[in-house]
Subunit: 485 residues, 2 copies
C-alpha cells in the first residue's frame, strides 16, 4: 500500500531457498508452507506484491498449476490478497494477531512473576549513586531561586552530553543538544514536531515495540522495511524513503532491538545519503551504543553527516545505560531543528527534572567505567543463555548478539504468541515476536533479554523447554508448519 514494491520471480525464488528440500511429497504444500513462513517471519513484508504465477513457475522451474494452487491456498488462509489487474499481495489473517493490544511496557507486576523474561532493563550502577546525589545536591542551590523550568535542559548536562559525543569523534556543540525525559520521550517529541496524524514513518521490521506504540499514539503509520539476509535492506530503504514519502524514519543502527544487528560503516554512510537526497529526517536511536559486548563500540552514525542542513536526529538516553529510574535522554540535531523540537516539547511536558539532570551530568564522564562493568554482566548473561538454550532447546537458533540487551531467537516454528501465553500461565513473562512487528509478523521469533542474571539462565531454559515440548506435541500442523524437518 504505502510501498508498492513488487518482487520478481527470481527474487522470490531466492527467498524461498531450499523449499523443495523440506521432505514434503506435495510441491503445492511445500510451496504454500514455505511462503507462509516467510510472511510470518517478516521476510516477505506485508503489502509486497508477489510475482505472477507464470513468472514464479518459470523461476522455480515447476508447473504453473502448482504455483496457482499454492497461491490459492495462501488466499484461503488469509495470507494473500488478489485483485484483477493488480496482482497478488501479502497480507495476514486477522486471527494471527494474538498479542494483547495494550502497549508493551516494562512490567509493573514483575514482583508477582516468578521469572521475568520480558524486560530488558538494567539495575542502577550502585557504587556511583551516592556520589551522584552528593554532586547534584552541591549543584542544586544555583537552580533553586529560579522557576526550575529549563526548556532545552540545564547547560551543565547539555555540555556533558556534547562533550561525550565530541570524545566519540562527533563534533557537537551545546546548541545541538536538547535534554528530554528519556529516549521514548525524545521520539515522542520528534513525532509531535515532524509528523502529523496519518504521516508515514519508516521503520525497520522487526523494531522496538515502544517505538511502534509511539508512532501509533501520534496517529502516524509505520511503514516497515524488512531486513534481508540478516542485513539492512539499503536499496529498499532508499526506495521507501523516495516512494512512500515518509515524514520520518526511525532506525536503531547499534545492536538493533530486537535483532542485535550492527550497521556497517558503508550502510551508515548510505543512510546519511538517503536522508540528504530525499530530505527525510532520520531518527537514529543510539541508546544501546555503550552496551557493546564483543568488538569495538560503534561510531555515531551522524559521523558520516557533513550536511549543514542535517536530517540526522540522534537520540541517546541515560535511562538505558545508567538506570530507568532516571528520566533523562537527549536529542542531537542541527541547532535550528533543536529549537523547533524544544517548542513542541514545551506543550508536552515543559522540561526535564533538575535532580536527574545533575546526577546524570555527574555520571556521564564516568560512563566508560560504568559501561565496562555492564558489558561484563551482559557477556556473562548472554553466554549463559546461549549455552543453556543450546542444551535444553537445541532447535532454537539465537542470532549473534555482539551487544545490546536482546537475544533474538528463531524458534523454527510460528508459536511465539502461544509460547508467551502458556508461559504467562506459569508466571513467566515473555515478549513474543509479534510485539516487534506489524500485523502479527514474527510469530516464529522470541526476544529474550540479556539482562537475565546468568544464574537464572538454566532455569529459564529448562522451564521454557518444558512448555515448548508440550506446545510442539499439541500443535496442529496446519497452523505451525516446521521449517526444517
Amino acid at each position: 500500500m504505502e510501498v508498492n514494491r513488487r518482487l520478481n520471480g527470481s527474487a522470490l525464488a531466492r527467498l524461498l531457498g531450499g523449499w523443495r528440500s523440506r521432505g514434503e511429497n506435495n510441491l503445492t504444500t511445500a510451496l504454500t508452507e514455505h511462503t507462509r513462513l516467510l510472511i510470518l517471519d517478516g521476510r516477505l513484508p506485508i503489502q509486497i506484491r508477489l510475482p505472477g504465477e507464470r513468472e514464479l513457475a518459470e523461476a522455480l522451474d515447476i508447473s504453473r498449476t502448482t504455483v496457482a494452487a499454492a497461491y490459492n491456498r495462501l488466499r484461503e488462509q488469509g495470507f494473500l490478497m488478489s485483485r484483477q489487474g493488480s496482482g497478488s499481495w501479502v497480507t495476514l489473517p486477522n486471527d494471527t494477531t494474538t498479542v494483547a493490544p495494550a502497549p508493551w511496557t516494562p512490567s509493573t507486576t514483575a514482583g508477582a512473576s516468578e521469572l521475568d523474561l520480558a524486560r530488558a532493563a538494567l539495575a542502577a550502577p550502585r557504587g556511583y549513586m551516592n556520589d551522584a546525589i552528593a554532586y547534584a545536591t552541591a549543584q542544586l542551590p544555583q537552580f533553586l531561586q529560579s522557576s526550575g523550568y529549563q526548556l532545552l535542559g540545564t547547560a551543565i548536562l547539555r555540555q556533558a552530553v556534547a562533550a561525550r559525543l565530541n570524545a566519540r569523534g562527533l563534533p557537537t556543540t551545546e546548541d545541538q543538544i536538547l535534554i528530554t525525559s528519556g529516549a521514548q520521550h525524545a521520539l515522542s517529541v520528534v513525532l509531535a514536531t515532524l509528523t502529523q496524524p496519518g504521516s508515514r514513518v519508516l521503520v525497520e521490521h522487526p523494531t522496538y515495540p515502544n517505538a511502534l506504540d509511539a508512532i501509533r499514539l501520534r496517529g502516524a503509520r509505520p511503514v516497515p522495511v524488512a531486513f534481508v539476509d540478516g542485513r539492512w535492506d539499503i536499496e529498499m530503504l532508499a526506495r521507501a524513503a523516495r516512494d512512500a514519502a515518509p515524514q520520518l524514519a526511525y532506525l536503531i543502527p547499534d545492536f538493533q532491538n530486537p535483532t542485535g544487528m550492527v550497521m556497517s560503516e558503508e550502510e551508515r554512510a548510505a543512510i546519511v545519503d538517503i536522508a540528504r537526497r530525499t530530505g527525510t529526517p532520520f531518527v537514529i536511536d543510539e541508546t544501546l551504543t555503550d552496551l557493546t559486548i564483543d568488538g569495538p563500540r560503534p561510531r555515531p552514525l551522524a559521523f558520516h553527516d557533513r550536511d549543514e542542513d542535517s536530517r540526522i536526529i540522534t537520540v541517546g538516553s541515560a535511562s538505558k545505560i545508567l538506570w530507568g529510574g532516571f528520566r533523562i535522554g537527549w536529542i542531537r540535531a542541527a541547532a535550528p531543528m533543536i529549537r523547533r523540537l524544544a517548542a513542541s516539547r514545551a506543550a508536552m511536558d515543559m522540561s526535564s527534572p533538575i535532580m536527574d539532570q545533575l546526577m546524570v551530568a555527574y555520571l556521564l564522564p564516568k560512563l566508560d567505567a560504568i559501561a565496562e562493568k555492564r558489558r561484563e554482566a551482559l557477556r556473562r548473561s548472554r553466554d549463559a543463555l546461549v549455552e543453556q538454550f543450546a542444551v535444553y532447546l537445541p532447535e532454537w537458533r539465537p542470532a549473534a548478539a555482539a551487544g545490546g540487551v536482546s537475544l533474538w531467537i528463531d524458534l523454527g516454528l510460528a508459536l511465539s504468541s502461544r509460547l508467551a501465553s502458556e508461559a504467562q500461565q506459569q508466571n513467566i513473562l515473555l515478549t513474543p515476536g509479534p510485539r516487534f512487528g506489524i500485523d502479527g509478523a514474527f510469530e516464529r521469533f522470541l526476544r529474550i533479554p540479556l539482562t537475565v542474571p546468568p544464574d537464572q539462565a538454566a532455569v529459564a531454559a529448562q522451564r521454557l523447554s518444558m512448555i515448548w515440548l508440550k506446545l510442539r506435541s499439541e500443535r496442529r500442523p496446519a497452523f505451525a508448519p516446521e521449517l526444517v524437518s
Copy 2:
C-alpha cells in the same frame, strides 16, 4: 461551527450594555466599535451567531438601518461573516493574530531579560530541599536493584498523594492515582488516551495557554466557552457538552488561569452533573488549589462526584506549588480510567523520575506549612502590584485575585499584543492577552504573574506605564477604539 449557539436580540443588548453612552455622535460607529470590543475581549465567542438585524434593532430600540450599517462595517473589517439563510456569525480578521505562533513557555532567556512579567512560577522551598534529598537518598536503595520503571508511579508517592486528597475530604485510594511528569504531561496523557486528532475539547475562554498548545499538538480542536458576567457559563457549558459532542473538557475551577476566578460549590456540582449526563470526561486542573491568598482553600471538585463510573479526572502537580524543577504531577480518576491512561503513557515517556518522586513524597505531608509561606509571598506581591498599577496605570482594571498566580488586567484598550511587543524591545517579557484565547481574542487583556517580587512591582508599573502612554498616543483609532472615554 462547533457550538451553534445563537444569541437573541435581548441577550446581545445586555452584553452591549452602555454602548450608547460612549460619547460618540454616530450610533452606527458606536454599535460597530462596541461589538468589535466584545469580540476582541472574548465576550462574544468566535462562531456565535448574532441576532438578525430587525431583532437587534428592536432590542436596542434603534432603526434597523443602523444595525444593518454596523453589521456591514463589522463584515468589512473581518469581524462578521454572513451567509444567506444562515445569518451572521462572529469571526476574526486574519491580521489580529499578532502573537507569535510558538508555544508559550517559561522563558529560557530570562537571564537576558531585565524584567520577566511573563512567567508565573515560584522558586523552590529552600529550607526543605536538603531534608527532601536526605529522605530520597535513604529510600533510593530499595529501587536501585529494579529497572527503575514504575508505570503508575512509586507506591510511596501514590499513597502520599491519596493521603493528601483524603485529608482534604476526598476519599481516594492508591489505585486511583497515576504519577505523571507534571500537570502539562498529565493533560498530554489524557489527550493521548481520550481524544483523537480532530476531536473537540471544551475549554474556558480565556484559559491556560499551555493547555491550548497541548490540545493543538494532539491535533484536537479547542471549543471555547466564554465567561459571562465574571462567572462560568454553566448553561453554555452544558449545551456545548451536549451539542458539540466534545471528547473531553478542560477546566480550572481554582484560581482560574488567567482570570483568577474560583468556581462556587453550586457550579462544581453542576459540572459533575454535566459530566455524568453527557458522558464527557472533564479534566479538572487543581494545580493552583493550595495557592490561596484570601479565603478558604477550595474543596476538590470531585467531592461532588458520587458516580461509580466517574467522568471527573483531577490533575494536580508538585511543579506548581513546590518547584518547576520537580517534574511530578498526578492524575486522580476512577481506577479503570487510571489503568487506561497508564497504558498510553507508556508509549509517551515510560515513567517518572524516581528521585523526584521520593523528594515529593517527603514534601507533600509538609505542603500546608510550605503553602502558608507561599501564600504570604503571593499576598505581598499581589498587594504591591495592585497598589503600584493603581498609581501608574489607573485606567487598567485588575480582576480580583483571591489566589493562584495571575493578575488578569483589563487594559481598557485592545493593545495587549502591541504592548508586549514594545516591552520586548526593552527587554521586558510579557504574555499578551491573546495567548490565553483562541483566534486573537483578549487583545484588551494582560496577565501579570503574582510571582513578581514585591520590590519589583513599582519598577514594573512605572516601565509599563511609559510604554503604555506612548502606545496610547500613537494608536490609530480605527484599530484601537477606546471603551471608556
